[in-house]
Amino acid sequence: MTDPLVTVENLVIGATTDAGRHVEIIKGVSFEIAPGEIVALIGESGSGKTTIALSLMGHARSGCRIEGGRIRLDRSEITAMTEAERARLRGTEVSYVPQSAAAAFNPSKRIMDQVIEISAIHALMPRAEAEAKAVELFRALALPEPEVIGARYPHQVSGGQLQRLSAAMALIGDPKLVIFDEPTTALDVTTQIEVLRAFKSVMQQGGISGVYVSHDLAVVAQIADRIIVLRGGEVQEVGGTEQILKAPQHPYTRDLLAAFEPVPHQPLSAAEAAAGILRPKPVLKVQDLCAGYGHVSKGEPRAKVLKNVSFTLERGRNLGVIGESGSGKSTLARAIAGILPPYRGTALFDGTELRPDLRNRSKEQLRRLQIVFQLADTALNPNHSIGSILARPLTFYEGLRGKAREARVIELLDMVHLPASLRHRLPGELSGGQKQRVNLARALAASPELILCDEITSALDTVVAAAILELLKELQRELNLSYMFISHDLSTVEAICDDVLVMYKGAVVEALPAARMSREAQHPYSRLLISSVPQLDTGWLTGLEQDPELVAQFARR
């Protein structure tokens, strides 16, 4: 093997917290990258993967500092350089593809000016030559209208296109190493495929080395040669992609892989089904529901989001709603909860009609139908203790006070597997998973019959999300709940739901049992969506064949 392109030895990065305390975020990490090799940094939030990737450019975000170890890139000793010397390397030797291209493009400058800026900063070539090269790259990255797309402003192109444009921006200076920082995380699955393909092909053609930062093993499996598993600023395991996927050594890697394939959903047992028969009315029956935002004229809002949505949710069963961003799935939950009153259509809860606006519903109706939001960070008031967050619905719906309320709060915390002592803490002191459990416990405090779960596992790390799913199933068995489970992630929906609605542009395109979804989906969009979910298989992307017409029709690239 030739000399490595990048050598990182015993890297230590420290950070100073707001309160002035010093902590180490990267605790002595070492690895190498060979020329032409793509190495993935895998880890959950807080593992330090982005921090390490940025340090390869000699950059540490504010508050952080490279405190020890060596980073060598080709013949340059990055750790020993001055800031001005590092600036000379950036863009020419090593370049960066950001997580959110939408935020990383300057909104007030044309795309072309930003793509070729590296050549201007480092005086690499005349402007005309740089523009010609940029157009070549646009073509190689399969961007539409490569000749003229550069004349637009960033807000005038789609997210997937921007992400590819940011790759062109990174490649214009012929770097030896490109750093990809979660570049497809913010994209929809159908968009992600095309972006991944484009990345892969330009990297292969140029023989460029890459660092691919991600939390998603399936994505990384498609593009990386080697995987480094990180946790808490330390390397857990290093290995070839095949080896990590097929024969993981470290227990943490095994946990990550296990979380990827959740335990399949067990349909209702006979006894539970019998309990449902006693009250045979469906818990929720929605008919021709229409909702939207904006100014209302002639009884219809300007922006119509939901278009005649109908479905039935039987008691004790779970309904999954899947779709990509903008499909209206979250709007559906808000319309049913009455937060966004639907302008047409009906929702029957346990046989009685729900008024469109929640202000006109009875307290009892509100109690029986609860909604849980995606981001526990914003769903819990940061100034209220966990105890008072859980106590409020108890007081509000049942008039519980004093000792009885306290006992019930402890009971609720126990239901979601949290210690009773947590009730004295503030939400800011809890981890993401703990917050989501509290979020759930607050809904349980109302003793509901139906819980609308809006992407409640999407913001969590995979291992934590898997635990929350297990908890949901357990609660369902104990409390005879029904869930309406909204997600963009098919495997999550498969793991918990009995039936699935596939939504596209505000309408339900297909409804079918979850267990048969991957095999029997009929509607072309459902098939496209299902086939776009990355698999834990290194050959999946190369072997994937999608009908180009289907793609053109439904994917917004």
């Binding site: 975000r61 600036a87 935020a103 800026e117």
Partner: protein, 318 residues
């Protein structure tokens, strides 16, 4: 609505709001001065006046008409340039103001021309070299200036330049303006004082606006492309901070309105503000109303102008 029309729609909307605001402001000015005091006729005639004399004067001044119709009449008069007659010396308000307005505008104009470029460069410089000695010095200076009343800045300036150094005259009024040097001297003190007062806010707000854009991902991206600090600030941050900076400039320049009142009084400068302060002490209502409207109109136009710049500099609306 087509995207190219949207900014113009917003511009028209903003102008409409400004007009509406002007009507409300004039309403407030009119009623604050006309309705709250006891009775203008009584004030004018003094306490010894007989009820008959008061009633006669009221009728003569049209004060017994309903307030709203007087308001409308006043507005129409304003629009036609008829500002009424001073209670005190029976001169046309227009004439009283005409002589002074030029002086005030000159003072404001010179101050703006001097302070805006200086303040913007200081603010941008402080942001570019954030945390440096320069930045900290600018911070301390600006916070000191915005923390003290305008008259204190003026007093300090008098103390230093007129009393101790004896470079400049302490008063502007009646100063010899025959030569350029003498004129500069006459203007120097008010201009220095006013510039200090309005620059401090402008520097602080400019610095804050630039620093805010420096924290965005696209500026970090520029850093990762190898851009220098200078390039990051001037090419990437500044164009996006244009809206907030325009706002800061307009807001600061509108401090002129408050500053001018104090400065003209202290330096005995023959401007509209001095006229108004004098009118307040003689309770000359038509004069007060007219002066107040002049200030409000200039204040409003500045703020509206800044909003328009912010709208038009937003690339998403282009």
């Amino acid at each position: 609505m087509s995207p190219s029309l949207l900014p113009w729609f917003l511009v028209v909307q903003r102008l409409g709001i400004a007009l509406l605001t002007l009507v409300i402001v004039s309403f407030a000015v009119f009623f604050a001065t006309e309705l709250l005091p006891g009775d203008v006729a009584e004030i004018l005639l003094g306490q010894a006046a007989t009820p008959e004399a008061v009633a006669g004067l009221r009728a003569a001044m049209g004060l017994d008409e309903p307030a709203l119709s007087r308001f409308v009449g006043w507005l129409v008069g304003l629009a036609q340039g008829d500002l009424g007659t001073s209670y005190v010396n029976n001169m046309e308000v227009v004439e009283l103001i005409a002589g002074r307005l030029g002086n005030s505008l000159r003072l404001a104009g010179v101050t703006t021309l001097l302070s805006v470029p200086v303040a913007l460069s200081l603010g941008i410089g402080a942001a570019m070299y954030r945390g440096s000695l320069f930045d900290r010095m600018v911070s301390v200076l600006t916070i000191s200036v915005i923390s003290v009343p305008e008259f204190m800045v003026a007093t300090l300036a008098v103390l230093i330049f007129a009393v101790w150094l004896d470079w400049l005259p302490a008063l502007s009024y009646g100063a010899d303006v025959s030569s350029i040097g003498a004129m500069l001297k006459a203007y120097a003190m008010p201009v220095i004082t006013l510039s200090c007062v309005i620059s401090a806010q402008m520097i602080r707000m400019t610095r804050a606006a630039v620093i805010e854009t420096l924290n965005t991902p696209y500026v970090e991206m520029a850093l990762l492309k190898g851009a220098s600090r200078r390039r990051m600030v001037l090419i990437h941050a500044l164009p996006n901070a244009l809206g907030p900076i325009a706002n800061a400039v307009a807001l600061s320049v509108s401090y002129l309105v408050g500053g001018v009142i104090i400065v003209e009084t202290i330096f005995n400068y023959p401007g509209v503000a001095k006229l108004m302060v004098d009118a307040v002490s003689t309770r000359d209502l038509p004069l007060i109303q007219s002066c107040a409207m002049i200030f409000c109109v200039s204040y409003l136009s500045l703020i509206t102008l800044a909003d328009l710049i912010a709208i038009l500099s937003n690339p998403r609306l282009r």
